[in-house]
């Protein structure tokens, strides 16, 4: 009965989400292999020109191939996002387990830290870290990891606490099972599905952040092909070449829609 009440991840939605992501990944990884080209090569002759064999999606204002710029943009931010999510998930899992198992001051300090980070807008933190770190990509990775670990930490801690207090774990302890068995059979099966959902949302958040900062010109720098940056560069040419602007817009929407569908449900 409960399944009908709460919007649970629908398997159908998840399959569609995974399919969208597979298509995007296929394009980003294989596209430039099938149609070789340079995302940086300018040719003012071809400024805003339509598609041709070497540039199936047409050209931007500097005559660069949109096909290749898009493919590289679809490698860049997902890669940074996945690296940040992997870092954040590992840190959140370890710290969340530590808090749930140790309790006391360890837990209190971690919870206070996580709560404080929760109060700060993620974009702001990423901006500050970008100002401190030397490279833009590493800055994004570090800043996004710093923002995203909190969600994984909270999920792990809450789930682990509830599970550790359950009769099932008490029974396992009475029967003489060790911690590694309890983690494998009781904790991980409860945590893993939540981690998957949080990872999909986290990846979407990271990609949105990179694109948003690119769009307001404080993220990736030109001439790097990046989704938000491409949009802001092409915005002035909307009247002449609407498709040129719509290409990164549609790609960004599809990428985020795929991740939202894959996550299923909504953010806890």
């Amino acid at each position: 009965m409960r399944t009908a009440i709460l919007s649970r991840p629908q398997p159908m939605g998840r399959i569609i989400g995974a399919a969208i992501l597979a298509v995007i990944a296929g394009f980003a990884l294989l596209g430039p292999v099938l149609v070789p080209g340079d995302p940086f090569a300018q040719s003012l002759m071809k400024s805003l020109a339509g598609p041709d064999a070497a540039a199936p999606f047409g050209h931007d204002h500097l005559g660069r191939s949109l096909f290749h710029r898009l493919a590289y943009a679809l490698r860049l931010s997902p890669l940074i996002a996945l690296a940040a999510v992997a870092t954040a998930a590992s840190a959140g899992l370890v710290l969340g387990m530590l808090a749930a198992l140790r309790g006391g001051w360890t837990e209190r300090v971690l919870v206070i830290l996580a709560d404080a980070l929760l109060a700060l807008p993620g974009l702001l933190m990423v901006l500050i870290v970008l100002a401190i770190m030397p490279g833009t990509a590493t800055g994004f990775w570090a800043g996004l990891s710093l923002v995203l670990w909190v969600e994984f930490f909270r999920l792990t801690r809450a789930t682990a606490r509830a599970t550790l207090a359950s009769p099932a774990v008490q029974a396992a302890k009475l029967l003489g099972f060790g911690w590694s068995y309890i983690f494998r059979t009781h904790l991980w099966p409860e945590i893993a599905p939540l981690m998957l959902t949080a990872a999909a949302f986290g990846t979407a958040t990271a990609i949105m952040a990179i694109a948003a900062l690119g769009f307001v010109s404080v993220g990736m720098r030109a001439p790097t092909p990046e989704l938000g940056l491409m949009m802001v560069e092409l915005l002035p040419y909307w009247r002449e070449a609407p498709m040129a602007l719509l290409t990164p817009v549609i790609a960004t929407f599809a990428l985020l829609l795929g991740l939202t569908l894959l996550a299923g449900g909504h953010k806890p």
């Binding site: 009769p167 099932a168 009475l174 099972f177 068995y181 409860e190």
Partner: protein, 480 residues
């Protein structure tokens, strides 16, 4: 003249028939009891008669309530009768009151909006209703500040405020301590006083006996037997009714006395147990010998589970000592849980879990099979997950799991409170057998003093704890 009559009522889920056609009549002053175990269709039958079935189910047949003739399938037609003709008392009254509204307004709104009284009069009437039920102090409280019994009386006042002559109570003792049973029965019978009708749906034999009147016994959606309640209880004709009555702890034979000379497994001296800074149990001393059953009774929140944690060494005692017999492994002390589903890992099959335990304790490979046979369990259950097995079977599988650790002491925390009477008798019988055959010592916790009286060699009754010591999570039933 009958207040309510139902003709050929049946309930279907799609093509499947859940309740076979049943006809019944409710007369003024004569209660009607519908008796059956979980899954017998008793609640579905009652819901079909009241028009409260879930939308996924379909009812057929005719219902007459007062002057109103209705088709059972016409859900909308019943709406206008709720509160005005039929007062429906819900299961688990605690969950039936709006948690964010004080008690009195929940009664007042029915007087005002259903019976159509002006607001000041409705308030006065609600106050009088609550006072008549002994609830003067409860009017301004929120439901979470009420005890289970108080919540039930508020729900009764609210259900009857619309002026309905017929009261239908679905499992009125569910979630309440057995000791409250007589209060509940008296309250319900009070509804009959002014020539009203009363229909009670229950699995509780003692409640059925106290309500009296007429009874319909249901099993698997079909009527097994019906007649005057006293007559059916005294001379049941159907085999199922006989089993059901024999399964009532009142009718169990007393346990054969066990020698008190066996070696002590557990010795407790001047034990005090506390939780959240409140002392729950004090000055408890006892000795539990091999093969003996210690019965522990007491109201909810008296600290029975905390006492178990202390006996099992899961929490240190606040005071005093718990001695285990020398030479016993820590795993010789095991526990059975009230809710066996919560005691197994959710995502593994039962077979995997049991094999893990057998491997850990180096049990011979056929030990699981031997125990399955002894506990009368079907091996096919091992391929399922805990949620896909009935409560009685799962509790026996939990017992099997504990036996794999070769326990000398078992703390059984209300192991049958969620089981039907026949299954309860079977599980308690198995526990009793194990004390004789394996010399297992058991501490059996139950809220039912009769069950303990028939089963235990020694008895301890724990007093009601300080109310503040009762955590909300334990008092308030969790929505299923």
């Amino acid at each position: 003249m009958t207040l309510l009559s139902a003709t050929e009522i049946a309930v279907h889920a799609g093509a499947q028939r859940l309740v076979d056609p049943v006809s019944l009549a409710l007369n003024p002053g004569e209660p009607l009891v519908i008796l059956g175990e979980t899954g017998s269709g008793k609640s579905l039958l009652a819901q079909a008669i009241m028009g409260t079935l879930p939308e996924s189910l379909r009812a057929t047949g005719q219902v007459r309530i007062g002057k109103h003739e209705l088709r059972a399938g016409d859900r909308a037609a019943f709406r206008g009768l709720w509160g005005r003709q039929i007062a429906v008392l819900p299961q688990e009254p605690w969950l039936s009151l709006d948690p964010l509204m004080r008690a009195a307004p929940q009664v007042t709104e029915a007087h005002r909006l259903v019976a159509g009284r002006p607001a000041p009069e409705a308030r006065l009437q609600a106050g009088a209703d609550l006072a008549a039920l002994g609830l003067e102090g409860a009017a301004a409280r929120y439901p979470h500040q009420l005890s289970g019994g108080m919540a039930q009386r508020v729900a009764i006042a609210a259900a009857r405020a619309g002026g309905a002559p017929i009261v239908v109570a679905d499992e009125p003792t569910k979630g309440l301590d057995a000791t409250r049973r007589d209060d509940v029965a008296a309250l319900l019978l009070g509804a009959l006083a002014s020539g009203g009708g009363l229909m009670v749906i229950t699995h509780d034999l003692a409640l059925a006996r106290r309500i009296g009147g007429r009874v319909i016994v249901l099993r698997d959606g079909a009527v097994v037997e019906s007649g005057a309640t006293a007559e059916v209880f005294a001379r049941p004709t159907a085999a199922y009714t006989r089993d059901l009555i024999a399964a009532d702890p009142e009718n169990w034979p007393a346990r054969a006395p066990q020698p008190d000379t066996t070696k002590a497994v557990l010795q407790v001296e001047d034990l005090a147990v506390s939780r959240g800074g409140h002392v729950l149990v004090e000055g408890l001393s006892l000795t539990l010998g091999a093969g003996r059953i210690l019965g522990i009774t007491g109201p909810s929140g008296c600290g029975k589970s905390s006492l178990g944690d202390a006996l099992l060494g899961l929490v240190p005692p606040a005071q005093g000592q718990v001695h285990r017999a020398a030479g016993l492994a820590p795993t010789a002390f095991q526990k059975l849980y009230q809710d066996p589903v919560a005691a197994f890992p959710r995502t593994r099959t039962l077979g995997q879990t049991l094999r893990d335990v057998a491997r850990l304790h180096r049990a011979p490979w056929d030990r699981i099979d031997t125990l399955l046979a002894r506990l009368r369990l079907d091996p096919v259950l091992l391929t399922r997950r805990p949620g896909a097995v009935s409560g009685g079977e799962l509790q026996r599988l939990a017992l099997l799991r504990a036996m794999l650790a070769r326990p000398r002491f078992l703390f059984a925390d209300e192991p049958t409170s969620r089981l039907d009477p026949i299954t309860q008798r079977e599980v308690i019988g198995l526990l009793s057998d194990l004390t004789r055959t394996d010399g297992l010592a058991i501490a059996l916790v139950s809220h039912d003093p009769v069950l303990i009286a028939r089963t235990a060699d020694d008895r301890r009754s724990l007093p009601m704890a300080h109310p503040a010591a009762v955590p909300l999570a334990e008092v308030q039933p969790v929505p299923a």
